[in-house]
């Protein structure tokens, strides 16, 4: 399997505070890979560092074989990686359609075709394209955030806790959508608090703790692992 995203020995953090002390990870083409771990493990920080939102002190990030370490988010977006932040991930005063247009801001042509494709994936959004995003419920916002990130037809999608603080029914819908997106050929790296659920939809997963790689394996392996169970699943 070809690797689309590879981070090796990534060291990063906020300002002087180092959160990641050397995290490595590999995402293959068409894979769903989950990152789980306790609070403060550096999961979200890792995403931000990979996406160029944080300064990388050492280590490298390769996207489809190309070194993108230290490139800003707007360059990384052009190379085919999308990112959905955990919160505040829609433009509330813009309409649904405008949110999607902003997702495709750097796209020069084929906007309408892509809009239709994305609306097909998210039929709920297609119902009221002129509705302001601020009026959407938490789950709908999350859907819109996913849709926005898909507007550029990315090869890789980074999802930072897409189900945080959502109702169980909505969590189910989000995971179904994530699986659908993946089946359309997008490799997905997902950070999840909801570890059990995440492990059941991913092919492989990484367990982070205190800014280091702790464990790594397939979903079923980690689900069965006693250490993961004890540490993070509360079993």
């Amino acid at each position: 399997m070809t690797t689309v995203l590879e981070a090796s020995e990534l060291v990063s953090g906020y300002g002087e505070v180092e959160i990641l002390h050397g995290v490595s990870l590999r995402l293959g083409e068409g894979e769903i890979v989950a990152i789980i771990g306790p609070n403060g493990a550096g999961k979200s920080t890792f995403m931000k560092a990979v996406f160029g939102l944080l300064k990388v002190k050492s280590g490298t990030v390769h996207l489809a074989g190309e070194d993108v370490t230290g490139a800003g988010p707007e360059r990384i977006v052009r190379k085919g990686m999308g990112y959905v932040p955990q919160s505040e991930n829609v433009f509330p005063s813009l309409t649904i359609q405008e949110n999607l247009e902003m997702g495709a801001f750097i796209r020069r042509n084929g906007l309408h075709q892509r809009l239709n494709e994305v609306y097909e994936l998210f039929p709920d959004l297609a119902l009221r394209p002129q509705l302001r995003a601020g009026k959407l419920s938490g789950g709908q916002r999350q859907m819109l955030a996913l849709a926005r990130a898909l507007m550029l037809d990315p090869k890789v999608l980074l999802l930072d806790e897409p189900t945080a603080s959502l109702a169980p029914k909505m969590v189910e819908d989000i995971f179904t959508t994530v699986r659908n997106i993946n089946q359309n050929g997008v490799a997905i790296l997902i950070v999840e608090q909801n570890a059990k659920e995440a492990l059941s939809i991913c092919q492989r997963a990484y367990v982070l703790a205190s800014g280091y790689n702790r464990l790594e394996g397939t979903g079923p392996e980690l689900l069965a692992s006693e250490e993961v169970g004890k540490l993070y699943l509360g079993a």
């Binding site: 800003g72 988010p73 932040p85 505040e88 433009f91 005063s93 247009e101 997702g103 801001f105």
Partner: protein, 363 residues
């Protein structure tokens, strides 16, 4: 006794319900109806003051639209806006006449000015000025746009990178305002000037009202520019990106929007607006360095009244402030020198009843 207590409790609850209802009414449709009613009353009862108020409001609107745009996208109070308008007015004056203050009297600094264009100062459309001033206004707009972009590079961008708070930005812009005013004083001194000296042509409106033809021109400029800015913000790719940035700059960045470029465009549009607004201000009043700073308070009042980031709000807010200022003077208890205080009264009322402004987004 128990019956009295019960009745009292019931009345109190009822009263609270009424208060809540009244609050909802005045923070929603009530405030619009209030302004509409006052506006209609002023239109019928104080027609002269109303018309002048609309002209004052137009000048304010041109400034407030730029201010609200900068406030919305860059998230800081641009205290240099009033002085920028006056500086633009002087730049247009300079392009037109080439005049700066000399040792004893004015001297012409430029060997060639716009006035030397054929028939550039011959009045057009019954106005007091010729097409030369319109070209001068365009030049002033371009210079202000460039100046704003340069100032952003030198002053505001370093502050942004450092993550400075809004107070630091506001103080920095206040410093720039003072620098601009000092430059105007150095080059053109403190006495009032006009683009065209002498008596200006007037136009008769219905109901026996006579105003300067220039003032009709000012009103039309505001009436054309406000919808134009609205269309830019809501119908163009750039405008939508500006609104996206106003909403959430971090998300704009991860969406691949080049936020630095959006900031530059915001300043360019702001500069162009300041160029037009400044010339209109000088046409309505005169060229005088301190006029810009005096205008700052009603400008901010208009912006906040209309709802920050909303050009249609800035327009309506400016009209409310402009009309109320002029009409309040006719009531007799307020000396014209204090008319700017009216802006504050309306502002306080607005912040009390509806803090997000007339057209501001709910937060």
């Amino acid at each position: 006794m128990a019956a009295i207590v019960a009745t009292y409790g019931r009345i109190r609850d009822q009263l609270r319900d009424y208060q809540q209802l009244a609050g909802q009414f005045f923070s929603g449709p009530g405030i619009f109806l209030l302004f509409l009613g006052l506006g209609l009353w002023a239109l019928i009862g104080r027609t002269d003051a109303f018309v002048i108020g609309v002209v004052t409001g137009s000048v304010l609107a041109l400034g407030a639209i730029g201010l609200t745009l900068l406030y919305g996208v860059l998230k800081f109070a641009h205290f240099a806006h009033g002085d920028s308008m006056m500086l633009a007015a002087y730049l247009a004056f300079f392009a037109l006449t080439g005049v700066v203050v000399g040792e004893r009297t004015d001297t012409e600094l430029l060997p060639w000015t716009l006035s030397d264009l054929p028939a550039a100062t011959k009045p057009i459309l019954g106005l007091s000025f010729g097409y030369g001033l319109l070209i001068a206004m365009a030049i002033a707009g371009v210079i202000m746009a460039v100046l704003f972009v340069v100032l952003d590079r030198l002053v505001y961008r370093p502050l942004r990178r450092r993550g400075s708070g809004i107070v630091i930005f506001a103080i920095a812009s206040l410093g720039i305002a003072i620098a601009m005013r000092s430059l105007m004083l150095i080059f053109w001194s403190s006495f009032g000037r006009f683009y065209v000296p002498g008596i200006r042509p007037t136009t008769d409106l219905p109901f026996g009202i006579r105003i300067l033809t220039d003032q009709i021109f000012i009103f039309w400029s505001a009436l054309v520019l406000a919808p134009l800015i609205y269309l830019i913000l809501f119908r163009t790719r750039l405008g939508k990106a500006m609104r996206a940035m106003a909403d959430n700059p971090d998300l704009a960045l991860v969406s691949g929007i080049n936020t630095d470029r959006i900031v530059i465009w915001t300043w360019v549009i702001g500069g162009a607006l300041v160029g037009i607004a400044g010339v209109m201000l000088a046409l309505q009043a005169q060229l005088k360095p301190e006029l810009g700073f005096v205008l700052l308070l009603p400008l901010f009042a208009s912006t906040i009244l209309g709802g920050i980031g909303s050009p249609q709000g800035a327009f309506v807010g400016a009209m409310v402030i402009g009309i109320t200022e002029e009409v309040a003077v006719t009531l007799g208890f307020l000396s014209p020198g204090y008319k700017f205080s009216v802006a504050f009264v309306i502002l306080i009322l607005m912040l009390f009843l509806r803090p997000r402004g007339l057209f501001g987004a709910k937060t």
